[in-house]
Protein backbone atom coordinates (compact mmCIF):
# COMPACT_ATOMS: atom_id res chain seq x y z
CA UNK A 1 0.00 0.00 0.00
CA UNK A 2 1.42 3.35 -0.99
CA UNK A 3 1.76 6.07 1.58
CA UNK A 4 2.37 9.77 1.45
CA UNK A 5 5.98 10.56 2.11
CA UNK A 6 6.11 12.29 5.44
CA UNK A 7 6.83 15.98 5.27
CA UNK A 8 9.76 17.14 7.34
CA UNK A 9 8.19 18.36 10.49
CA UNK A 10 9.29 21.79 11.55
CA UNK A 11 8.93 21.96 15.27
CA UNK A 12 7.55 25.17 16.58
CA UNK A 13 7.98 24.12 20.16
CA UNK A 14 11.12 21.98 20.08
CA UNK A 15 11.45 22.03 23.82
CA UNK A 16 8.12 20.45 24.46
CA UNK A 17 8.67 16.78 25.09
CA UNK A 18 5.18 15.71 24.13
CA UNK A 19 5.35 17.48 20.82
CA UNK A 20 8.52 15.59 19.98
CA UNK A 21 6.99 12.33 21.02
CA UNK A 22 3.99 13.01 18.84
CA UNK A 23 6.19 13.59 15.86
CA UNK A 24 7.82 10.26 16.52
CA UNK A 25 4.46 8.51 16.76
CA UNK A 26 3.30 10.27 13.66
CA UNK A 27 6.34 9.14 11.76
CA UNK A 28 6.01 5.50 12.73
CA UNK A 29 2.31 5.63 11.99
CA UNK A 30 2.96 6.95 8.53
CA UNK A 31 5.69 4.44 7.86
CA UNK A 32 4.24 1.25 9.28
CA UNK A 33 0.55 1.97 9.27
CA UNK A 34 0.27 1.28 12.94
CA UNK A 35 1.10 2.83 16.22
CA UNK A 36 2.88 0.72 18.76
CA UNK A 37 3.63 3.27 21.41
CA UNK A 38 2.72 2.77 25.01
CA UNK A 39 -0.93 2.99 25.74
CA UNK A 40 -1.98 1.30 22.58
CA UNK A 41 -2.58 -2.36 23.10
CA UNK A 42 -4.68 -4.68 21.02
CA UNK A 43 -2.45 -6.90 18.99
CA UNK A 44 -0.79 -5.28 16.06
CA UNK A 45 -2.93 -2.19 16.00
CA UNK A 46 -4.29 0.46 18.25
CA UNK A 47 -7.79 -0.69 17.61
CA UNK A 48 -9.49 -3.93 16.63
CA UNK A 49 -8.97 -4.66 12.98
CA UNK A 50 -10.76 -6.37 10.19
CA UNK A 51 -8.39 -7.98 7.73
CA UNK A 52 -7.92 -11.26 5.90
CA UNK A 53 -5.87 -12.48 8.85
CA UNK A 54 -8.04 -11.34 11.71
CA UNK A 55 -11.30 -11.78 9.89
CA UNK A 56 -13.98 -9.35 10.92
CA UNK A 57 -12.62 -7.95 14.19
CA UNK A 58 -12.24 -11.52 15.35
CA UNK A 59 -15.99 -11.92 15.48
CA UNK A 60 -16.65 -15.66 15.05
CA UNK A 61 -17.71 -16.49 11.54
CA UNK A 62 -19.67 -19.54 12.62
CA UNK A 63 -22.47 -19.77 15.10
CA UNK A 64 -21.87 -21.71 18.28
CA UNK A 65 -23.84 -24.91 18.79
CA UNK A 66 -26.99 -24.16 20.72
CA UNK A 67 -27.56 -27.57 22.24
CA UNK A 68 -28.38 -27.79 25.89
CA UNK A 69 -26.71 -30.19 28.32
CA UNK A 70 -29.30 -32.82 27.47
CA UNK A 71 -27.64 -33.43 24.14
CA UNK A 72 -24.24 -34.73 25.33
CA UNK A 73 -26.18 -36.59 27.98
CA UNK A 74 -28.27 -38.13 25.25
CA UNK A 75 -25.12 -39.04 23.34
CA UNK A 76 -24.06 -40.94 26.42
CA UNK A 77 -27.38 -42.57 27.15
CA UNK A 78 -28.13 -43.40 23.55
CA UNK A 79 -24.66 -44.80 23.00
CA UNK A 80 -24.82 -46.97 26.10
CA UNK A 81 -28.32 -48.17 25.27
CA UNK A 82 -27.38 -49.04 21.71
CA UNK A 83 -24.34 -50.99 22.86
CA UNK A 84 -26.44 -52.72 25.53
CA UNK A 85 -28.83 -53.95 22.84
CA UNK A 86 -25.90 -55.46 20.98
CA UNK A 87 -24.66 -57.12 24.13
CA UNK A 88 -28.14 -58.46 24.86
CA UNK A 89 -28.36 -60.19 21.51
CA UNK A 90 -24.81 -61.50 21.62
CA UNK A 91 -25.32 -62.84 25.10
CA UNK A 92 -28.63 -64.33 24.11
CA UNK A 93 -27.07 -65.97 21.11
CA UNK A 94 -23.97 -67.39 22.66
CA UNK A 95 -24.47 -67.74 26.41
CA UNK A 96 -26.88 -69.19 28.89
CA UNK A 97 -26.53 -66.08 31.01
CA UNK A 98 -30.19 -65.16 30.87
CA UNK A 99 -29.75 -62.65 33.66
CA UNK A 100 -27.30 -60.74 31.58
CA UNK A 101 -29.63 -60.84 28.58
CA UNK A 102 -32.42 -59.59 30.80
CA UNK A 103 -30.35 -56.73 32.22
CA UNK A 104 -28.94 -55.75 28.86
CA UNK A 105 -32.39 -55.69 27.32
CA UNK A 106 -33.59 -53.49 30.14
CA UNK A 107 -30.62 -51.16 29.96
CA UNK A 108 -31.23 -50.79 26.22
CA UNK A 109 -34.94 -50.22 26.76
CA UNK A 110 -34.37 -47.72 29.57
CA UNK A 111 -31.95 -45.80 27.37
CA UNK A 112 -34.41 -46.06 24.51
CA UNK A 113 -37.02 -44.37 26.64
CA UNK A 114 -34.76 -41.83 28.27
CA UNK A 115 -33.18 -40.71 24.99
CA UNK A 116 -36.25 -39.21 23.32
CA UNK A 117 -37.05 -37.50 26.58
CA UNK A 118 -33.61 -35.92 26.67
CA UNK A 119 -33.78 -34.91 23.05
CA UNK A 120 -37.22 -33.43 23.53
CA UNK A 121 -36.02 -31.39 26.47
CA UNK A 122 -33.30 -29.94 24.32
CA UNK A 123 -35.71 -28.70 21.71
CA UNK A 124 -36.67 -25.07 21.60
CA UNK A 125 -40.22 -26.22 21.08
CA UNK A 126 -40.47 -29.57 22.89
CA UNK A 127 -44.14 -29.91 21.99
CA UNK A 128 -43.04 -30.25 18.39
CA UNK A 129 -40.89 -33.31 18.99
CA UNK A 130 -43.04 -35.31 16.63
CA UNK A 131 -42.11 -32.97 13.79
CA UNK A 132 -38.87 -34.94 13.76
CA UNK A 133 -40.89 -37.67 12.09
CA UNK A 134 -42.54 -35.40 9.56
CA UNK A 135 -39.95 -36.32 6.99
CA UNK A 136 -37.18 -38.77 6.54
CA UNK A 137 -34.04 -37.26 5.15
CA UNK A 138 -31.06 -39.43 4.44
CA UNK A 139 -28.88 -36.39 4.01
CA UNK A 140 -29.66 -35.22 7.53
CA UNK A 141 -27.93 -37.25 10.24
CA UNK A 142 -30.33 -35.67 12.69
CA UNK A 143 -33.27 -37.06 10.74
CA UNK A 144 -31.66 -40.44 10.37
CA UNK A 145 -30.92 -40.32 14.07
CA UNK A 146 -34.44 -39.38 15.01
CA UNK A 147 -35.90 -42.23 13.02
CA UNK A 148 -33.27 -44.63 14.30
CA UNK A 149 -33.97 -43.56 17.83
CA UNK A 150 -37.68 -44.03 17.34
CA UNK A 151 -37.12 -47.47 15.93
CA UNK A 152 -34.62 -48.34 18.57
CA UNK A 153 -36.88 -47.19 21.38
CA UNK A 154 -39.70 -49.33 20.07
CA UNK A 155 -37.60 -52.41 19.36
CA UNK A 156 -35.62 -52.28 22.56
CA UNK A 157 -38.78 -51.73 24.53
CA UNK A 158 -40.49 -54.59 22.71
CA UNK A 159 -37.49 -56.85 23.30
CA UNK A 160 -37.36 -55.97 26.97
CA UNK A 161 -41.08 -56.43 27.27
CA UNK A 162 -40.99 -59.78 25.53
CA UNK A 163 -38.08 -60.76 27.68
CA UNK A 164 -40.05 -59.88 30.77
CA UNK A 165 -43.03 -61.93 29.64
CA UNK A 166 -40.78 -64.83 28.70
CA UNK A 167 -39.41 -64.90 32.24
CA UNK A 168 -42.92 -65.65 33.42
CA UNK A 169 -44.34 -67.57 30.56
CA UNK A 170 -42.13 -69.41 28.15
CA UNK A 171 -44.08 -69.41 24.92
CA UNK A 172 -42.61 -69.69 21.47
CA UNK A 173 -44.29 -66.65 19.95
CA UNK A 174 -42.95 -64.52 22.76
CA UNK A 175 -39.53 -66.05 22.27
CA UNK A 176 -39.68 -65.34 18.56
CA UNK A 177 -40.93 -61.85 19.23
CA UNK A 178 -38.08 -61.20 21.64
CA UNK A 179 -35.56 -62.46 19.16
CA UNK A 180 -36.89 -60.44 16.26
CA UNK A 181 -37.25 -57.32 18.40
CA UNK A 182 -33.84 -57.99 19.88
CA UNK A 183 -32.26 -58.35 16.46
CA UNK A 184 -33.88 -55.12 15.27
CA UNK A 185 -32.86 -53.38 18.46
CA UNK A 186 -29.32 -54.61 17.88
CA UNK A 187 -29.29 -53.35 14.34
CA UNK A 188 -30.63 -49.95 15.33
CA UNK A 189 -28.51 -50.00 18.49
CA UNK A 190 -25.40 -50.24 16.36
CA UNK A 191 -26.50 -47.10 14.57
CA UNK A 192 -27.41 -45.47 17.88
CA UNK A 193 -23.94 -46.03 19.22
CA UNK A 194 -22.11 -44.69 16.21
CA UNK A 195 -24.34 -42.20 14.38
CA UNK A 196 -23.82 -39.41 16.89
CA UNK A 197 -20.27 -39.21 15.60
CA UNK A 198 -21.66 -38.54 12.15
CA UNK A 199 -24.22 -36.16 13.64
CA UNK A 200 -21.62 -33.82 15.00
CA UNK A 201 -19.03 -34.61 12.37
CA UNK A 202 -21.22 -33.64 9.45
CA UNK A 203 -21.48 -30.03 10.58
CA UNK A 204 -19.53 -26.89 9.85
CA UNK A 205 -17.81 -26.93 13.24
CA UNK A 206 -14.17 -27.46 12.29
CA UNK A 207 -13.08 -29.58 15.23
CA UNK A 208 -15.99 -31.90 14.60
CA UNK A 209 -15.93 -32.23 10.85
CA UNK A 210 -12.18 -32.53 10.86
CA UNK A 211 -12.47 -35.66 12.99
CA UNK A 212 -15.47 -37.15 11.31
CA UNK A 213 -13.65 -40.33 10.39
CA UNK A 214 -12.67 -41.17 13.92
CA UNK A 215 -15.72 -39.86 15.72
CA UNK A 216 -18.13 -42.75 15.00
CA UNK A 217 -15.77 -45.49 16.26
CA UNK A 218 -14.77 -43.23 19.13
CA UNK A 219 -18.39 -42.76 20.19
CA UNK A 220 -19.21 -46.42 19.52
CA UNK A 221 -16.32 -47.54 21.72
CA UNK A 222 -17.36 -45.05 24.33
CA UNK A 223 -20.92 -46.38 24.21
CA UNK A 224 -19.72 -49.95 24.53
CA UNK A 225 -17.45 -48.93 27.36
CA UNK A 226 -20.31 -47.46 29.32
CA UNK A 227 -22.80 -50.24 28.47
CA UNK A 228 -20.36 -52.85 29.71
CA UNK A 229 -19.68 -50.85 32.83
CA UNK A 230 -23.33 -50.25 33.61
CA UNK A 231 -24.08 -53.95 33.25
CA UNK A 232 -21.16 -54.81 35.47
CA UNK A 233 -22.35 -52.42 38.11
CA UNK A 234 -25.81 -53.95 37.81
CA UNK A 235 -24.25 -57.13 39.13
CA UNK A 236 -22.76 -58.88 36.14
CA UNK A 237 -19.35 -58.70 37.64
CA UNK A 238 -18.30 -62.16 36.70
CA UNK A 239 -18.87 -62.06 32.99
CA UNK A 240 -15.51 -62.58 31.39
CA UNK A 241 -16.93 -61.49 28.06
CA UNK A 242 -17.97 -58.16 29.50
CA UNK A 243 -14.50 -57.63 30.88
CA UNK A 244 -13.03 -58.53 27.53
CA UNK A 245 -15.35 -56.14 25.77
CA UNK A 246 -14.52 -53.49 28.34
CA UNK A 247 -10.85 -54.05 27.69
CA UNK A 248 -11.36 -53.77 23.94
CA UNK A 249 -13.34 -50.54 24.32
CA UNK A 250 -10.87 -49.05 26.77
CA UNK A 251 -8.08 -50.13 24.50
CA UNK A 252 -9.64 -48.35 21.55
CA UNK A 253 -10.26 -45.27 23.64
CA UNK A 254 -6.59 -45.27 24.67
CA UNK A 255 -5.59 -45.33 21.02
CA UNK A 256 -8.01 -42.55 20.27
CA UNK A 257 -6.59 -40.49 23.11
CA UNK A 258 -3.09 -41.06 21.84
CA UNK A 259 -4.14 -40.03 18.38
CA UNK A 260 -5.74 -36.82 19.63
CA UNK A 261 -2.66 -36.00 21.67
CA UNK A 262 -0.34 -36.47 18.75
CA UNK A 263 -2.42 -34.85 16.00
CA UNK A 264 -1.40 -31.35 16.95
CA UNK A 265 -3.30 -29.36 14.36
CA UNK A 266 -4.77 -26.00 15.14
CA UNK A 267 -8.22 -27.27 14.35
CA UNK A 268 -7.79 -29.81 17.12
CA UNK A 269 -6.68 -27.21 19.62
CA UNK A 270 -9.96 -27.21 21.53
CA UNK A 271 -9.37 -30.90 22.23
CA UNK A 272 -6.17 -30.08 24.05
CA UNK A 273 -6.48 -26.54 25.27
CA UNK A 274 -8.84 -24.59 27.39
CA UNK A 275 -11.81 -25.88 29.28
CA UNK A 276 -12.90 -28.23 26.54
CA UNK A 277 -9.36 -29.59 26.24
CA UNK A 278 -9.27 -30.54 29.89
CA UNK A 279 -12.66 -32.22 29.78
CA UNK A 280 -11.73 -34.21 26.70
CA UNK A 281 -8.40 -35.21 28.20
CA UNK A 282 -9.87 -36.22 31.53
CA UNK A 283 -12.61 -38.12 29.72
CA UNK A 284 -9.95 -39.82 27.63
CA UNK A 285 -7.90 -40.94 30.60
CA UNK A 286 -10.95 -42.11 32.51
CA UNK A 287 -12.30 -44.14 29.63
CA UNK A 288 -9.03 -45.29 28.10
CA UNK A 289 -5.77 -46.10 29.87
CA UNK A 290 -7.16 -46.09 33.40
CA UNK A 291 -9.93 -48.67 32.98
CA UNK A 292 -7.70 -50.67 30.66
CA UNK A 293 -5.05 -50.93 33.31
CA UNK A 294 -7.62 -51.69 35.99
CA UNK A 295 -9.22 -54.41 33.93
CA UNK A 296 -5.88 -56.00 33.15
CA UNK A 297 -5.03 -55.80 36.81
CA UNK A 298 -8.38 -57.39 37.63
CA UNK A 299 -7.80 -60.15 35.11
CA UNK A 300 -4.50 -60.89 36.79
CA UNK A 301 -5.44 -60.42 40.44
CA UNK A 302 -9.18 -61.11 40.35
CA UNK A 303 -9.71 -58.18 42.68
CA UNK A 304 -13.28 -57.12 42.02
CA UNK A 305 -12.69 -53.69 43.42
CA UNK A 306 -10.39 -53.03 40.54
CA UNK A 307 -13.06 -54.06 38.07
CA UNK A 308 -15.65 -51.95 39.81
CA UNK A 309 -13.30 -48.99 39.72
CA UNK A 310 -12.80 -49.62 36.00
CA UNK A 311 -16.57 -49.55 35.49
CA UNK A 312 -17.08 -46.29 37.33
CA UNK A 313 -14.11 -44.74 35.59
CA UNK A 314 -15.41 -45.79 32.17
CA UNK A 315 -18.86 -44.39 32.81
CA UNK A 316 -17.46 -41.11 34.02
CA UNK A 317 -14.98 -41.01 31.17
CA UNK A 318 -17.63 -41.75 28.61
CA UNK A 319 -19.87 -38.99 29.95
CA UNK A 320 -17.01 -36.52 30.05
CA UNK A 321 -15.98 -37.45 26.55
CA UNK A 322 -19.38 -36.45 25.16
CA UNK A 323 -19.47 -33.23 27.14
CA UNK A 324 -15.90 -32.54 26.16
CA UNK A 325 -16.56 -32.91 22.47
CA UNK A 326 -19.59 -30.69 22.57
CA UNK A 327 -17.62 -28.13 24.54
CA UNK A 328 -14.82 -28.36 22.00
CA UNK A 329 -17.40 -27.59 19.34
CA UNK A 330 -18.23 -24.35 21.11
CA UNK A 331 -14.59 -23.37 21.35
CA UNK A 332 -14.02 -24.28 17.74
CA UNK A 333 -16.96 -22.21 16.54
CA UNK A 334 -15.63 -19.26 18.46
CA UNK A 335 -12.27 -19.43 16.71
CA UNK A 336 -12.75 -17.15 13.75
CA UNK A 337 -9.44 -18.06 12.16
CA UNK A 338 -10.04 -21.58 10.94
CA UNK A 339 -12.84 -21.01 8.47
CA UNK A 340 -10.77 -18.17 7.03
CA UNK A 341 -7.66 -20.25 6.48
CA UNK A 342 -6.66 -20.84 2.92
CA UNK A 343 -5.23 -24.32 2.39
CA UNK A 344 -2.90 -24.51 -0.60
CA UNK A 345 -5.13 -26.86 -2.49
CA UNK A 346 -8.29 -24.82 -2.23
CA UNK A 347 -8.69 -22.10 -4.81
CA UNK A 348 -9.77 -18.67 -3.58
CA UNK A 349 -13.42 -17.91 -3.96
CA UNK A 350 -14.35 -15.03 -6.18
CA UNK A 351 -12.25 -13.69 -8.93
CA UNK A 352 -10.17 -10.60 -8.83
CA UNK A 353 -10.51 -8.25 -11.70
CA UNK A 354 -7.01 -9.23 -12.84
CA UNK A 355 -8.01 -12.85 -12.98
CA UNK A 356 -11.16 -11.93 -14.79
CA UNK A 357 -9.18 -9.95 -17.33
CA UNK A 358 -6.85 -12.90 -17.77
CA UNK A 359 -9.77 -15.18 -18.31
CA UNK A 360 -11.17 -12.94 -20.98
CA UNK A 361 -7.79 -12.74 -22.66
CA UNK A 362 -7.62 -16.50 -22.78
CA UNK A 363 -11.12 -16.84 -24.07
CA UNK A 364 -10.51 -14.34 -26.81
Amino acid sequence: MSRVPLPEVPNRLPDVESERRLNEIRRTAAQSGMVTAKGVTPVGAPFPQASPETGYYGVPLLKEPQWTKEVPLYFFVGGAAGAAAVIASAAHLFTQDDDLVHSARWVAAAGGILSPALLTLDLGRPSRFLNMLRVFKLQSPMSVGAWTLTAFSSFSAAAAFANAIRQKLDSTPVYVLENIAGALATATGLVMASYTGVLIGATTIPVWNNNIETLPPHFAASGMNSAVSILELLGHENSRSLNLLGMAAAGYESLEGLMLETKRTRINEPLRKGKSGWIVRLGGVLSGPLPLALRIAYAITGNKKLRRAASWSSIAGSLLTRFGWVQAGHASAKDHRIPLELPESVPKVGMSSHELADMHMKMA
Partner: protein, 260 residues
Protein backbone atom coordinates in the same frame (compact mmCIF):
# COMPACT_ATOMS: atom_id res chain seq x y z
CA UNK B 1 -41.15 -17.87 -10.92
CA UNK B 2 -37.51 -17.44 -11.80
CA UNK B 3 -34.75 -17.74 -9.26
CA UNK B 4 -34.36 -14.42 -7.53
CA UNK B 5 -31.23 -13.15 -5.89
CA UNK B 6 -29.40 -10.28 -4.28
CA UNK B 7 -26.26 -8.62 -5.48
CA UNK B 8 -24.92 -6.57 -2.62
CA UNK B 9 -22.41 -4.19 -4.10
CA UNK B 10 -20.23 -2.83 -1.33
CA UNK B 11 -18.69 -0.24 -3.63
CA UNK B 12 -22.09 1.45 -3.59
CA UNK B 13 -22.84 0.93 0.07
CA UNK B 14 -22.76 4.01 2.26
CA UNK B 15 -23.19 2.10 5.50
CA UNK B 16 -26.45 3.79 6.36
CA UNK B 17 -27.92 0.60 7.84
CA UNK B 18 -31.32 1.36 6.33
CA UNK B 19 -31.43 -2.24 5.11
CA UNK B 20 -30.79 -3.58 8.58
CA UNK B 21 -33.49 -1.46 10.13
CA UNK B 22 -35.99 -1.99 7.30
CA UNK B 23 -35.57 -5.73 7.72
CA UNK B 24 -36.20 -5.52 11.44
CA UNK B 25 -39.19 -3.30 10.93
CA UNK B 26 -40.78 -5.43 8.26
CA UNK B 27 -40.18 -8.67 10.05
CA UNK B 28 -40.78 -7.30 13.53
CA UNK B 29 -37.56 -8.65 14.96
CA UNK B 30 -36.32 -7.51 18.32
CA UNK B 31 -33.14 -5.57 18.95
CA UNK B 32 -30.09 -7.59 19.94
CA UNK B 33 -28.97 -5.64 22.95
CA UNK B 34 -27.48 -2.23 23.52
CA UNK B 35 -23.83 -2.99 23.63
CA UNK B 36 -21.11 -0.80 22.23
CA UNK B 37 -18.60 -3.00 20.45
CA UNK B 38 -15.87 -0.62 19.45
CA UNK B 39 -15.77 -2.37 16.09
CA UNK B 40 -15.90 0.76 14.04
CA UNK B 41 -19.55 1.82 13.73
CA UNK B 42 -20.86 -1.73 13.91
CA UNK B 43 -22.58 -2.56 17.14
CA UNK B 44 -24.80 -5.42 16.04
CA UNK B 45 -21.78 -7.47 15.00
CA UNK B 46 -23.20 -10.31 12.91
CA UNK B 47 -26.29 -11.77 11.37
CA UNK B 48 -28.18 -13.96 13.79
CA UNK B 49 -31.65 -14.77 15.00
CA UNK B 50 -32.44 -11.13 15.68
CA UNK B 51 -30.47 -9.51 12.85
CA UNK B 52 -31.09 -10.80 9.36
CA UNK B 53 -29.37 -8.02 7.47
CA UNK B 54 -26.18 -6.76 8.97
CA UNK B 55 -23.89 -4.00 7.79
CA UNK B 56 -20.20 -4.59 8.30
CA UNK B 57 -17.70 -1.75 8.69
CA UNK B 58 -14.11 -2.45 7.77
CA UNK B 59 -11.49 0.18 8.45
CA UNK B 60 -8.27 0.32 6.47
CA UNK B 61 -5.35 2.72 6.66
CA UNK B 62 -6.19 6.23 5.52
CA UNK B 63 -4.28 8.46 3.19
CA UNK B 64 -4.92 12.17 2.87
CA UNK B 65 -6.14 13.03 -0.59
CA UNK B 66 -7.65 9.65 -1.35
CA UNK B 67 -11.32 9.00 -0.88
CA UNK B 68 -12.79 5.53 -0.96
CA UNK B 69 -13.72 5.76 -4.62
CA UNK B 70 -10.14 6.11 -5.74
CA UNK B 71 -8.51 2.99 -7.04
CA UNK B 72 -5.17 3.62 -5.47
CA UNK B 73 -5.83 2.03 -2.13
CA UNK B 74 -8.55 0.14 -0.37
CA UNK B 75 -11.25 2.48 0.86
CA UNK B 76 -10.39 3.57 4.38
CA UNK B 77 -13.89 2.56 5.26
CA UNK B 78 -15.55 -0.35 3.54
CA UNK B 79 -19.16 -1.25 4.18
CA UNK B 80 -20.92 -4.41 3.24
CA UNK B 81 -24.40 -5.54 4.05
CA UNK B 82 -24.39 -9.20 4.97
CA UNK B 83 -27.34 -11.54 4.74
CA UNK B 84 -28.24 -15.23 4.47
CA UNK B 85 -26.66 -16.49 1.29
CA UNK B 86 -29.63 -18.63 0.23
CA UNK B 87 -27.12 -21.23 -0.87
CA UNK B 88 -27.62 -23.31 -3.97
CA UNK B 89 -26.81 -26.28 -1.78
CA UNK B 90 -27.82 -25.10 1.64
CA UNK B 91 -26.31 -26.68 4.70
CA UNK B 92 -29.22 -25.66 6.86
CA UNK B 93 -31.80 -27.06 4.52
CA UNK B 94 -29.96 -30.35 4.11
CA UNK B 95 -29.58 -30.72 7.83
CA UNK B 96 -33.04 -29.80 9.02
CA UNK B 97 -34.65 -33.02 10.35
CA UNK B 98 -38.18 -31.68 10.40
CA UNK B 99 -38.36 -30.34 6.89
CA UNK B 100 -38.98 -26.94 8.38
CA UNK B 101 -36.45 -25.46 5.99
CA UNK B 102 -37.68 -25.51 2.45
CA UNK B 103 -36.72 -24.13 -0.91
CA UNK B 104 -39.22 -21.61 -2.20
CA UNK B 105 -40.31 -21.43 -5.81
CA UNK B 106 -38.00 -18.47 -6.35
CA UNK B 107 -35.04 -20.26 -4.87
CA UNK B 108 -35.06 -18.84 -1.38
CA UNK B 109 -34.17 -21.00 1.59
CA UNK B 110 -37.02 -20.50 4.02
CA UNK B 111 -37.51 -21.61 7.61
CA UNK B 112 -41.17 -22.36 8.20
CA UNK B 113 -41.79 -21.03 11.66
CA UNK B 114 -44.78 -23.29 12.18
CA UNK B 115 -42.74 -26.42 11.64
CA UNK B 116 -39.36 -25.70 13.23
CA UNK B 117 -39.00 -27.42 16.57
CA UNK B 118 -35.79 -25.75 17.56
CA UNK B 119 -33.45 -28.72 17.33
CA UNK B 120 -30.79 -26.18 16.28
CA UNK B 121 -29.09 -28.61 13.97
CA UNK B 122 -29.25 -26.09 11.17
CA UNK B 123 -27.20 -23.74 13.35
CA UNK B 124 -24.15 -25.97 13.14
CA UNK B 125 -24.79 -26.79 9.51
CA UNK B 126 -24.55 -23.34 8.01
CA UNK B 127 -21.08 -22.63 6.67
CA UNK B 128 -21.70 -18.88 6.93
CA UNK B 129 -22.89 -18.69 10.51
CA UNK B 130 -26.24 -17.29 9.54
CA UNK B 131 -29.16 -19.18 11.01
CA UNK B 132 -29.52 -19.11 14.77
CA UNK B 133 -31.98 -20.27 17.38
CA UNK B 134 -33.73 -17.63 19.41
CA UNK B 135 -33.35 -19.09 22.88
CA UNK B 136 -36.44 -17.38 24.19
CA UNK B 137 -38.69 -18.27 21.32
CA UNK B 138 -37.14 -21.68 20.81
CA UNK B 139 -37.08 -21.63 17.05
CA UNK B 140 -34.43 -20.95 14.48
CA UNK B 141 -34.57 -17.73 12.50
CA UNK B 142 -32.86 -16.16 9.56
CA UNK B 143 -33.60 -14.05 6.52
CA UNK B 144 -36.79 -15.22 4.84
CA UNK B 145 -35.75 -13.52 1.62
CA UNK B 146 -38.95 -11.63 2.31
CA UNK B 147 -40.86 -14.55 0.93
CA UNK B 148 -44.09 -12.91 2.00
CA UNK B 149 -43.25 -9.79 0.03
CA UNK B 150 -41.91 -11.69 -2.94
CA UNK B 151 -45.07 -13.72 -3.14
CA UNK B 152 -47.00 -10.49 -3.25
CA UNK B 153 -44.78 -9.23 -6.05
CA UNK B 154 -42.78 -6.84 -3.88
CA UNK B 155 -39.04 -6.48 -3.57
CA UNK B 156 -37.50 -7.50 -0.25
CA UNK B 157 -37.67 -4.78 2.37
CA UNK B 158 -33.89 -4.37 2.62
CA UNK B 159 -33.43 -3.89 -1.11
CA UNK B 160 -36.37 -1.53 -1.19
CA UNK B 161 -34.93 0.63 1.59
CA UNK B 162 -31.41 0.83 0.22
CA UNK B 163 -30.96 4.40 -1.00
CA UNK B 164 -27.99 3.75 -3.24
CA UNK B 165 -29.06 0.52 -4.89
CA UNK B 166 -26.19 -1.19 -3.21
CA UNK B 167 -28.59 -4.07 -2.69
CA UNK B 168 -29.77 -5.13 -6.09
CA UNK B 169 -32.59 -7.59 -6.27
CA UNK B 170 -33.40 -9.54 -9.39
CA UNK B 171 -32.87 -12.65 -11.40
CA UNK B 172 -29.93 -14.75 -10.24
CA UNK B 173 -28.28 -15.34 -13.59
CA UNK B 174 -28.73 -11.74 -14.62
CA UNK B 175 -27.19 -10.52 -11.41
CA UNK B 176 -24.28 -12.94 -11.83
CA UNK B 177 -23.62 -11.35 -15.16
CA UNK B 178 -24.12 -7.88 -13.80
CA UNK B 179 -21.63 -8.57 -11.05
CA UNK B 180 -18.96 -9.49 -13.57
CA UNK B 181 -19.75 -6.48 -15.69
CA UNK B 182 -19.54 -4.27 -12.66
CA UNK B 183 -16.09 -5.65 -11.85
CA UNK B 184 -14.99 -4.82 -15.35
CA UNK B 185 -16.47 -1.38 -15.10
CA UNK B 186 -14.62 -0.74 -11.85
CA UNK B 187 -11.49 -2.07 -13.46
CA UNK B 188 -11.89 0.48 -16.22
CA UNK B 189 -12.19 3.18 -13.60
CA UNK B 190 -8.89 2.12 -12.10
CA UNK B 191 -10.20 -0.01 -9.27
CA UNK B 192 -8.36 -3.29 -9.56
CA UNK B 193 -9.24 -5.00 -6.32
CA UNK B 194 -12.95 -5.68 -6.79
CA UNK B 195 -14.04 -9.29 -6.44
CA UNK B 196 -17.32 -11.10 -6.68
CA UNK B 197 -18.00 -13.46 -3.83
CA UNK B 198 -19.93 -16.43 -5.16
CA UNK B 199 -18.48 -19.79 -4.09
CA UNK B 200 -19.45 -21.64 -7.25
CA UNK B 201 -16.58 -24.08 -7.11
CA UNK B 202 -17.23 -25.33 -3.61
CA UNK B 203 -19.84 -27.79 -2.46
CA UNK B 204 -22.15 -24.84 -1.82
CA UNK B 205 -22.31 -24.53 -5.61
CA UNK B 206 -22.97 -20.83 -5.57
CA UNK B 207 -25.17 -18.53 -3.58
CA UNK B 208 -28.25 -16.44 -4.24
CA UNK B 209 -26.92 -13.46 -2.32
CA UNK B 210 -23.86 -12.40 -4.26
CA UNK B 211 -21.40 -9.89 -2.90
CA UNK B 212 -19.16 -7.50 -4.70
CA UNK B 213 -16.31 -6.33 -2.53
CA UNK B 214 -13.01 -4.59 -2.72
CA UNK B 215 -10.10 -6.50 -1.29
CA UNK B 216 -10.12 -9.84 0.40
CA UNK B 217 -13.58 -11.15 1.29
CA UNK B 218 -12.09 -12.63 4.43
CA UNK B 219 -11.91 -9.15 5.96
CA UNK B 220 -15.68 -9.31 5.88
CA UNK B 221 -15.77 -12.78 7.43
CA UNK B 222 -16.68 -14.43 4.17
CA UNK B 223 -15.09 -17.88 4.24
CA UNK B 224 -12.79 -18.60 1.30
CA UNK B 225 -13.93 -22.19 0.95
CA UNK B 226 -17.32 -22.76 2.50
CA UNK B 227 -18.39 -26.38 2.48
CA UNK B 228 -21.82 -27.86 2.95
CA UNK B 229 -21.47 -30.31 5.83
CA UNK B 230 -23.14 -33.05 3.84
CA UNK B 231 -19.83 -33.35 2.00
CA UNK B 232 -18.39 -34.97 5.11
CA UNK B 233 -21.19 -37.46 5.32
CA UNK B 234 -19.78 -40.15 3.10
CA UNK B 235 -16.70 -40.35 5.25
CA UNK B 236 -18.83 -40.26 8.35
CA UNK B 237 -21.26 -42.99 7.46
CA UNK B 238 -18.51 -45.22 6.11
CA UNK B 239 -16.65 -44.90 9.31
CA UNK B 240 -19.87 -45.41 11.28
CA UNK B 241 -20.59 -48.57 9.33
CA UNK B 242 -17.14 -49.88 10.03
CA UNK B 243 -17.47 -48.90 13.66
CA UNK B 244 -20.81 -50.68 13.89
CA UNK B 245 -19.41 -53.75 12.17
CA UNK B 246 -16.39 -53.90 14.40
CA UNK B 247 -18.55 -53.37 17.44
CA UNK B 248 -20.90 -56.15 16.45
CA UNK B 249 -18.03 -58.43 15.60
CA UNK B 250 -16.16 -57.68 18.78
CA UNK B 251 -19.23 -58.28 20.91
CA UNK B 252 -20.07 -61.51 19.20
CA UNK B 253 -16.48 -62.63 19.50
CA UNK B 254 -16.38 -61.75 23.17
CA UNK B 255 -19.44 -63.83 23.90
CA UNK B 256 -18.46 -66.58 21.53
CA UNK B 257 -15.40 -66.92 23.74
CA UNK B 258 -17.59 -67.24 26.79
CA UNK B 259 -19.46 -70.20 25.32
CA UNK B 260 -16.23 -71.99 24.70
Amino acid sequence: MSTTAFLTDSTLCIGCKACEVACKEWNQISEDGYEWSGHSYDNTQAVGHSTWRHVKFVENPVEIGLGGNSGEQLPAWGFSSDVCKHCEVAGCLEACPTGAIVRMEFGAVFVQPDVCNGCSYCVVSCPFGVVQKNEEDGRAFKCTFCSDRQKAGLAPACAKACPTESIKFGNLEELRLEAQLRVKELEARGIHDAVVYDPLDTSVKGIHALFLLRGDPRSYNLPPHPEVPTTYMKKGWTSAAIAAGVMLGATLLAFLGERR
